[in-house]
Amino acid sequence: MTTQNLDIKAFLDQDQKKDLLRLLTCGSVDDGKSTLIGRLMFDSKMIYEDQLSALERDSKRIGHAGDEIDYALLLDGLKAEREQGITIDVAYRYFSTAKRKFIIADTPGHEQYTRNMVTGASTANLAIVLIDARYGVITQTKRHTFIVSLLGIKHVVVAINKMDLMDFSQEVYEKIKADYESFVAQLDIPDVTFIPMSALKGDNVVEKSERMPWYKGTSVLDFLENIRIVSDRNFTDMRYPVQFVLRPDIDFRGFSAAVASGIISKGDEILVLPSYKKSVVKSIVTYDKELDQAFPPQSVTVTLADEIDISRGDMLVHPDNLPRVERHFEAMLVWMDEKPMNLSTQFYIKHTSNTTKARIDLVKYKTDVNSLEKMPVEFMQLNEIGRVVITTSKPLFFDPYKKNRQTGSFILIDPITHNTSAVGMIIDKLDSKNLASRITDVDKEKIAAGQSLIQTEDYQNKYNQKGETIWITGLHGSGKNELAFSLEKKLFDNGAVVVLIDGSSVRSGLSRELDFTPADRDENQRRVAHICKILNDQGIIAIASFISRNDSLRNQLAEIIGPNRFHLFYMDATLDYCKNNKPELYDLIEQGKTQYLPGIDLEYEVPQNAKLVFKPEENSQNIEKVLDYLAANKVFPHH
C-alpha cells in the first residue's frame, strides 16, 4: 500500500470508521485453508516483510510445500503444532482492507477438534467452508456445516477450492453446489454463497479470476468486504444483564453492562428480573458523554429514577417484552472436557452475568456430527454434541439461542477442576408436564455400592422382620395417609420396627426448596426413596405415602429401593371421593390459583403392578389385608 499520494489524516479519519467482521474458516490444511488465509492476509499487504523473511527460513526446514512459500507456517503458532504440521487450537488472525477490519478464527478441521471449531464459531458472523473441488461435498463438509448452523452463524461462503486441478470446470462447480444445497436445506442457514477459487494460484481470492468467465459472482475478499452483517444482531428484545454495580459515592448509583440485545433508551420504563420491580431509565452514562440510547454491543452504565435493589446477574428488560424466567430448559450441549459427563455433578452455570448451580437431568440424544443421526446415549464425552435437559437452582433469564445468541448461550464449569466442561445453546424452556424424572441410571450404580458390616440376616433375626418398603400410591385425598398412619400404629403395637414418611414432614425440611412442578415432585420422591433404602438396609420397615403419579416414576423408585423390597399398594378412590375428602387443594386449582395436581392437570396412571389394591371406605379391613400380606411374604413377622 502506498500512502505517498494520500493525505494521512484523511486516511486515518476514514480508517477509524470502518467496521469489524469476525469470520470462521472451516476446512483442513489439505483443503488449502491455511493457504487461503495466508493469501488473504498476504495479498491485502498486511504480512510484514520481516515475518516473510522468517517464513522463508522456516519453510526450508520444516515446510510441507516444497520450494514454494508455505503459508500455513505463518499461521501455526505453537511449537508442538508446528512440528506435527496441524493446528490444534483456535488461532485468531487479523487483517484489514480499506473497507473493513477482519478477525479470522482459524480452527482445525478434524473430528477430534470439534470443540475448537465450536469455540471459533461462537464469535463469528460468517463462516467460510472450504471444499476441495476434487472430492466435493464430503463428510467433513457436512460436519463443519452442521457446527456452523448449530452455533447460529447466518452467512456461509462455500469456497470451492483447487479449481485449477479440475481445469476450472463449471460442471464440477455446479455439481458441488447442487450437492451442498440439497444437504444444507435441512439446516438453518439463511445465507449461502458459492465461490469457485484456487487459493494456491490466487484465483477469485482477492482478484476476480479470468480463468472462470462463467462465474458471475465476486472474489472471496470482495464478498467479505461488502456483506452486511449489522442486521444480524437482535435489536428487538432489550436485555441488559447487569454486570457491575457502580457506586463511587452516595449520590451516584449506576448499573454497568454490555447491552446484550435490543435498544435501551433514556426515559424507558424497565422491569428488573428477578424482582419484577419497575423503574425508569434516568440516564445512560459513558466516559465520553451521556447517551440517549444504547445498543449492542455497547458497554454503558445506566441510572434509574428509583432506588431499587439490583445486583450483578439481574437483568433489566422492557415490561412488555420479557425473556423466559425458568429453572428448567432444553439445550444443545457440546462437551469440551476430557473428563466425560457425570450426571450427578452439580455444575456451575454461567449465563450472561449470572452464575448459579446446574444439573444435567437427562441426555435426550447425541447427534453424530458426521451423519447427523440422533443416537440415544446416557452421557456425553469429549467433542460430542447432544440435546439435554438442564435444571438450575435459581431461574435464568433467557431466550432461545436462535432468537438471541447473547441470552441463549451458557457454559458449564466443573465444580472441582473449574474447567469449562461444556457449552450450551438453549433451545427453549421445557413444558413442565414433559419434564424428565431426575432419577437416573447413575443413581442405580450408586445404590449398588456401599455395604454395611451387619448382615441382612442379623437384622432380620434381631427385629423378626425384613427391612422393606410399603409404598402407597393414590390421588390426593384418596385416604393414603389414613391407611399409612393406622398401619404404622398397628405394626408398632405388634412389635415391628417401623418408620413412616409422609409428604408434609419431608416437604417441611429435607425438600423444602422444591416446588410442586412435576420435576420437583419427582425429585422429592427420589429423595424419599433413598431414605427408604437406608432404613431398609438397616432392617427397618418403611411406610411411604405419596401420589407417585406414573409407572415410570414408580419403577424408578423401586430401582432405588430394590425391586424385591418395594411393595406397591394402590388406594383406589374416585376423584369425587378425593374432592370431598380433601377439598382445599382441588378448590384452589379450580380457581386457577395453583397447578400440577395429578388427576386434574397432570395425568395419574393407575398402577399396573400394585401388590394390593384398596378402597378407602374399607380402612379397617385394609389394615388386615396388609398384615396378612406382610405375614405371607415373611416381611413381618419374619419367623
Partner: protein
C-alpha cells in the same frame, strides 16, 4: 439511526466488558502497567469502564531498573496527575547484586529482573487476576492466547491445557493460589492502538516520536545511550541519529529505528510504508525459535 459501531468502538466495548467482568468476579485484581502505548490504552479503557467512579484496582509496574529514564519520569508524572493507586515493584536482591543486561546478558537479566520480579510482585500482594496489555497480532504464539488465560500456583501457562472460551462468557473460577492473566486488548492490532491513541488523545512516552538521540549500533540494532551504565567502550561509539522506538522496554534491549515521524499521523504513515513488525526491535526475541512461548510458559507474558 444505524445501530452500528466502528471497529474501534466495538473493540473498546469488548475491552470494557472484559475489564468489568474481572472487577466483578475476582477479589484482588491488578493491572500490569508497562508504561508502553498498549498499557496506556488499557488504562484509559479501565478509566472508561468505571466512570464516573475510580478504577477499583491498583496498577503495578514491574521496574527492571533498566527502563528508559523518560519512561520512569512519564510514569511518575502521569500517575500523580491521574491519582492512580500505582505499585512499583522491583527485584531488590537482583538490583543489589547489580544484575543488568550489559554484565549478565539479556537472558539472565530478563529472567531475574522481569520474570522473577513479576512473579514475586504478584505473590506479595496475592493478586488473583492480572491484566496485561498483550495483543494476539504481536507474535505467532499469542494468536492462540485466551482472553482469560489460566495460570497455576506457579504462574505457569500450559498451552495444551487452556480453557475453552466462547462467546463473551469468561470462566473466572480459580482455586486459592491460582490466577488468571487477562488480556482485554487481545483483538486489537498495532494500527488499532495508534488509531485509538489519536482518537482519544492519550498521552504516550515521547520516545515513540522521532528525535535526535545518541545511539550505538549493536548487531544491527540501534541502542540508545540512556545512562552511564552502558560500558564506556560501547557508548564511545555513540552517534546522534534521528530515531524513535516502536516498543519500549529496558533500554539496552530495545532497538530504535531511524525515523522522521514526529506525530501520530507520521508514525502510522511510516508504519504502513516501512513494513517491519514491531517485536523485531525487541532484542529478546532473537534468542531461539518459539522463545516468546518459552517465556510465557515460565510465567512472563
Amino acid at each position: 439511526m444505524e445501530y452500528s459501531l466502528s471497529n474501534l468502538r466495538e473493540l473498546e466495548a469488548e475491552a470494557i466488558h472484559i475489564i468489568r467482568e474481572v472487577a466483578a468476579e475476582f477479589e484482588n485484581p491488578v493491572m500490569l502497567y508497562s508504561i508502553g502505548k498498549d498499557s496506556s490504552v488499557m488504562v484509559r479503557l479501565a478509566e472508561k469502564a468505571f466512570y464516573p467512579g475510580k478504577v477499583p484496582f491498583p496498577l503495578m509496574h514491574i521496574d527492571s531498573k533498566w527502563k528508559f529514564r523518560e519512561m520512569v519520569e512519564f510514569r511518575d508524572n502521569y500517575a500523580k496527575e491521574k491519582g492512580w493507586n500505582l505499585i512499583v515493584h522491583y527485584n531488590e536482591e537482583g538490583y543489589k547484586n547489580g544484575i543488568g543486561p550489559f554484565t549478565h546478558g539479556s537472558k539472565v537479566h530478563t529472567d531475574v529482573m522481569k520474570t522473577q520480579a513479576l512473579l514475586a510482585g504478584l505473590n506479595k500482594y496475592k493478586f488473583d487476576a492480572a491484566f496485561g496489555g498483550a495483543r494476539r497480532d504481536e507474535e505467532k504464539s499469542r494468536a492462540k492466547e485466551r482472553i482469560f488465560s489460566f495460570r497455576d500456583k506457579f504462574h505457569q501457562w500450559d498451552p495444551k491445557n487452556q480453557r475453552p472460551e466462547l462467546w463473551n462468557i469468561y470462566n473466572a473460577r480459580v482455586q486459592k493460589g491460582e490466577s488468571i492473566r487477562v488480556f482485554p486488548i487481545s483483538n486489537w492490532t498495532e494500527l488499532d492502538i495508534w488509531q485509538y491513541i489519536r482518537l482519544e488523545n492519550i498521552p504516550i512516552v515521547p520516545l515513540y516520536y522521532a528525535k535526535e538521540r545518541p545511539v550505538v549500533e549493536v548487531d544491527g540494532n540501534l541502542i540508545m545511550v540512556d545512562d552511564e551504565r552502558m560500558p564506556a567502550e560501547m557508548s564511545a561509539k555513540a552517534k546522534m541519529r534521528k530515531v524513535r522506538f516502536r516498543t519500549l522496554g529496558c533500554y539496552p534491549l530495545t532497538g530504535a529505528i531511524e525515523s522522521n515521524a514526529e506525530t501520530i499521523e507520521e508514525i502510522v504513515e511510516e508504519m504502513m510504508t516501512v513494513t517491519v513488525s514491531e517485536r523485531t526491535t525487541r532484542v529478546i526475541d532473537f534468542d531461539q525459535e518459539g522463545s516468546m512461548e518459552q517465556k510465557k510458559r515460565e510465567g512472563y507474558f
